[in-house]
């Protein structure tokens, strides 16, 4: 932890040059500061030093006393009076390095022509720069069966491994998933998995990226391309609100792989497997390419753009309309929807929360979240973290990695208010504050925090009445910071863009006349609607009551809502304009379908949970960069109330003019929790969350990725299991009036009243199957 206190600097001489570095710096990094590249394989700046490969040997002398033999520069910190001679000035170090390289190459197969790493391989490169030109080895190389799947998405070629232990150290130190280890000794030493546990880590893709040889390769990229075929574009991840920096590699208009970018303030050098490997939805064969309009016979038929836009504009003008925009829109697109609702439709009926939500949450977002500036750096400085309605590993994996780093490096205390002890919290060695689903509020109020603490609130906190009021009150009384971490990448941006009924762009309350004037001036309109907008659920209800006749829907899955049947019926009833990338439940019921660009095909930005802008350019060209924004702009033009937002740049410029709202914020009216339900013998209260790898729309077509998803199970407590006579693996049928799911049981640490099941995994899509996901009473029977 660097503070304002002066860091002790140490001056050393490397190859005759003096350099001053902070105490504790390793020699190999001090050399880097002078631009001296010492070859290395096992060394990684974010992993603990191990000195496994011995490639970085240098000659060291301290105060006139030399080490008798060359030393590994990646394990020795600088000391005063140290004189280091690298391969550039010391013949001994150079010979030692060449010798180590020769040893490493003895058993390394000549696979380069078929190896994915060929062309970007540290071993290949450093064998050229620091190795001998000729091999003296004439024996038989070590052979292993190859490749072996250590998970459905990671392949291991043991022959190629040089035993640097980067992958095992990453899994152990960074991800806390020690599912791979070095087995055997000597020439037969190899990376292996435990006999019965495959390498099911959400972060396994990072091991592929940091492997300095081609020993670990990704199944989906294997043999697809060579580095020189790829055009790389810096991009941002569209999967969750962590906001990872990414690199998208494209060959001939097709995304072949995505890698974690290097952003020390956000994702460091890591990302999760979903961000890395879930990108095939973009090239799915059923992508929409042409506008579709429903004809008189009731069929969707292809139409020209002017025709489709005219039909859309006419329909939206004829009815009272509302906007439903999913949490996956970019900041600029969300801003477009927000402005479209106010300017073209003249309404505040817009909601980005296409999921379970509440009015309490809307107030919470307006009073505590919009404009908030809690960052990853604050997590590094916090004394205690409280997790409310938030499962970091499943819902925002990079936040999990940051928490885990702080737990490991400085013993950060983490507490989770939840019904079930999650795998993530267990790995974080967190305190598990057990509550019955729906009873979070009282427990939150009793937690003791300081002004240096942070409350990480997930989107699921809205599912428990009173929880967000309690969080707000706790923050007020203790001075702790609040960070709201939604699951979807676009939600924070949509909030800031005012894609919600009670806020205008820039966190300005709709109810505040001065705020409305602010925005009306910016938009050059005479006035803005002043009636508080409806929420998603209210919009659906208003369609049924006839108060709303038309909907414009972008990136929404109606099955994510509280009452999917009602949502689908509303889509049938209303005039619907759908902006989508692929056919969905919405487009099937829409009257006009307008195809839009996927994230890799357009430019824009996401605001991650910190509110940090993660901008990106189009990685794949030739799709006309047809962002939602541009299409909304065209519809508005057609309707006669132009938005003047033809391009993403135009929107970004307008957003930059917004400025901050310095007026009065929305204040929260506390909501009291619901009463505890009385349960009879076979009743439980349902608890659930979405897993990182599940049936999500953006993970479509990724079989290799789906192979590492966690098993679909129903979790009950040991007490209830005993009273019901249930053991691990017995089938449990969970039912409501809507339907039922049958899942194998797992007896674990969970509140006695609760039963947990994944919300949207294969065989357990609770909102569709049961109609509820959290806090409802369900009947459970052993089959």
């Amino acid at each position: 932890m660097t503070t304002a206190a002066a860091v002790e600097m140490i001056t050393v001489v490397i190859d005759g040059f003096e350099v001053s570095v902070a105490k504790g710096t390793l020699i190999i990094r001090a050399a880097e500061q002078l631009g001296i590249q010492i070859p290395r394989f096992c060394d990684h700046p974010l992993l603990d030093p191990v000195g496994a490969c011995r490639q970085c040997l240098v000659d060291i002398e301290i105060n006139g006393r030399a080490f008798p033999k060359p030393q590994a520069s990646c394990t020795i910190p600088v000391e005063p009076g140290m004189i280091v001679k690298t391969q550039l000035t010391s013949a001994v170090a150079d010979k030692a390095q060449k010798g180590v390289m020769e040893l490493l190459l003895i058993n390394h197969p000549l696979d380069c022509p078929v190896c994915d790493k060929g062309g970007e391989c540290p071993l290949q490169n450093q064998a050229m720069s620091n190795g001998q030109g000729q091999s003296r080895y004439e024996g038989v190389k070590r052979r292993f069966e190859k490749p072996i799947n250590i998970s459905s998405q990671v392949l291991l070629d043991r022959e190629r491994c040089i035993l640097c232990a980067r992958c095992t150290r990453f899994s152990d130190e960074i991800a806390s998933d020690p599912f791979i280890t070095l087995n055997e000794r000597g020439a037969l030493q190899q990376v292996g998995i435990y006999e019965k546990v495959p390498f099911k880590s959400y972060f396994s893709g990072n091991t592929v990226q940091i492997c300095p040889v081609g020993a670990l390769t990704g199944a989906s990229y294997r043999f697809r391309a060579r580095p020189f075929d790829l055009v790389s574009t810096p991009s941002a991840c569209e999967h969750c609100a962590s906001g990872c920096d990414m690199r998208t590699d494209v060959r001939r208009g097709k995304t072949l792989r995505r890698l974690a970018g290097d952003d020390a303030s956000v994702n460091e050098e890591w990302n999760c497997d979903k961000g890395r490997w879930a990108f095939k939805y973009v090239t799915a064969p059923d992508r929409l390419t042409h506008p579709l309009v429903r004809n008189e016979a009731g069929d969707l038929v292809e139409a020209s753009w002017p025709q489709a836009l005219a039909v859309a504009a006419k329909g939206l003008k004829e009815h009272a309309s509302a906007v439903l925009v999913g949490g996956r829109a970019t900041y600029e697109d969300a801003y477009g929807y927000s402005k479209f609702a106010r300017v073209a439709l003249g309404t505040n009926d817009i909601d980005f929360r296409s999921r379970l939500s509440s009015d309490e949450e809307r107030e919470f977002l307006a009073s505590c979240v919009v404009g908030s500036t809690t960052t990853y750096r604050d997590i590094d400085l916090a004394d205690r973290i409280l997790l409310v309605g938030f499962e970091p590993e499943e819902e925002s994996p990079i936040v999990f990695l940051r928490l885990n780093k702080n737990v490991r490096k400085r013993g950060l205390k983490i507490a989770a208010v939840a019904s079930k002890l999650s795998i993530g919290v267990e790995k974080l060695k967190g305190e598990f504050i057990k509550v019955a689903p729906g009873q979070e509020a009282a427990t939150i109020a009793a937690v003791s925090l300081t002004a240096k603490s942070i409350i990480l609130v997930g989107e699921r906190a809205s599912e428990s009445a009173g929880a967000l009021s309690a969080v707000s009150a706790l923050a007020d009384s203790t001075g702790a910071k609040i960070a709201w971490i939604p699951r979807r990448a676009g939600e924070r941006g949509a909030l800031e863009a005012g894609a919600i009924g009670n806020l205008l762009p820039g966190g300005r309350p709709v109810a505040d006349a001065a705020a409305r004037v602010d925005i009306a001036t910016l938009w050059s309109t005479s006035s803005l609607p002043s009636i508080m907008g409806r929420s998603s659920d209210e919009i659906i209800a208003a369609v049924h009551s006839g108060a709303i006749g038309a909907l414009i829907v972008g990136g929404v899955d109606p099955l994510d809502g509280a009452n999917s049947a009602s949502a689908l019926a509303a889509l049938e009833k209303a005039f619907v304009v759908a902006l989508e990338i692929a056919p969905s439940e919405v487009t099937m019921r829409a009257d006009v379908v307008l195809p839009v660009a996927a994230v890799t095909e357009k430019s824009g930005s996401f605001l991650n949970w910190e509110g940090r802008a993660r901008s990106f350019e189009a990685a794949v060209h030739g799709s006309l960069n047809r962002s939602d924004l541009r299409i909304l702009s065209m519809i508005a033009q057609e309707m006669g109330s132009p938005l003047n937002l033809g391009t993403v740049t135009a929107a970004a410029q307008e957003i930059s003019k917004l400025g901050v709202w310095e007026g009065v914020r929305v204040s929260m009216v506390p909501v009291s929790p619901e009463k505890i339900a009385t349960l009879t013998g076979d009743q439980f209260i349902l608890n659930s969350w979405r897993r990182l790898l599940d049936c999500g729309t953006l993970q479509k077509g990724e079989e290799n990725l789906a192979g590492t998803a966690r098993a679909t199970i129903a979790v009950i407590s040991p007490n209830r299991a005993q009273s019901m006579g249930v053991a691990d693996g017995d089938l449990l049928k969970i039912s409501t009036t809507v339907g039922s799911v049958t899942l194998p049981a797992l007896v674990e640490d969970i509140h006695d009243d609760a039963i947990w099941a994944p919300r949207n995994s294969t065989g357990s899509q609770l909102l569709v199957n049961l109609g509820v996901a959290h806090g409802a009473v369900v009947t459970v029977v052993k089959i």
Binding site: V114, G119, R226, D229
Partner: protein
């Protein structure tokens, strides 16, 4: 020379430049002309060097760089492993390759990997042969065929089917499994002489 000096001083006039008369050779004389015509005349009695192409074709030198060929192992499996080293080596960017996985059901070459797409653009190729040098499996070689002319650009982008060598005696058309009890190293070492009956899966 004096004129140039004048230009250097910028006070000369371009129109005043006079061209110097270069000394021309004089006439070669009668015998000189006869000497030249003798060459023409004597050629009448020599065997003509021209041939009736395309009816008659003269073989090229053995190592002439002509159209490429993708070779097969003696059992018919392809030698190409789709490694793209040829594309990498190509100074004219004339080669495009996409690799893919061999599976037990669909095996095109020994080992794990084969070239799924293989194209050479003969409008770009300069026949330098660097691709041949780069090929690690001797899958790509050059034939002596030089008749590479056509009437459209598309026809001059040769696909894998156009480039693959013919099936010879003892070869089977892939996909088919590897020779029993043999691995890819055996193939490279030349241990497979011809197809085994068990490889004929069709």
């Amino acid at each position: 020379m004096a004129d140039i000096e004048a230009f250097k001083n910028r006070d000369g006039d371009l129109n005043k430049v006079e061209f110097t008369q270069v000394e021309q050779p004089g006439s070669v004389g009668f015998f000189g002309h006869m000497k030249g015509f003798w060459v023409t005349f004597s050629t009448i009695f020599k065997r003509p060097e021209t041939i009736e192409y395309p009816e008659v074709k003269v073989p090229t030198q053995e190592r002439f760089h002509g159209r490429h060929q993708l070779n097969r192992h003696p059992d018919g499996l392809e030698k190409c492993i789709g490694c793209e080293l040829c594309a990498w080596a190509c100074p004219a960017d004339a080669i495009y390759v996409e690799g893919a996985d061999n599976t037990e059901e669909h095996r095109m070459s020994p080992g794990e990997r084969y070239g799924k797409v293989y194209q050479i653009n003969y409008l770009r190729c300069v026949f330098c042969g660097l691709c041949i040098e780069a090929c690690p499996t001797r899958a790509l070689t050059m034939t002596n065929e030089y008749e590479l002319a056509d009437d459209s650009r598309e026809k001059l982008i040769f696909e894998k089917d156009d480039l693959l060598g013919p099936l010879r005696a003892g070869m089977l058309m892939p996909p088919h499994p590897m020779y029993p009890e043999m691995n890819d190293t055996n193939y490279y070492n030349g241990d497979v002489i011809q197809a085994h009956p068990s490889q004929d899966v069709k």
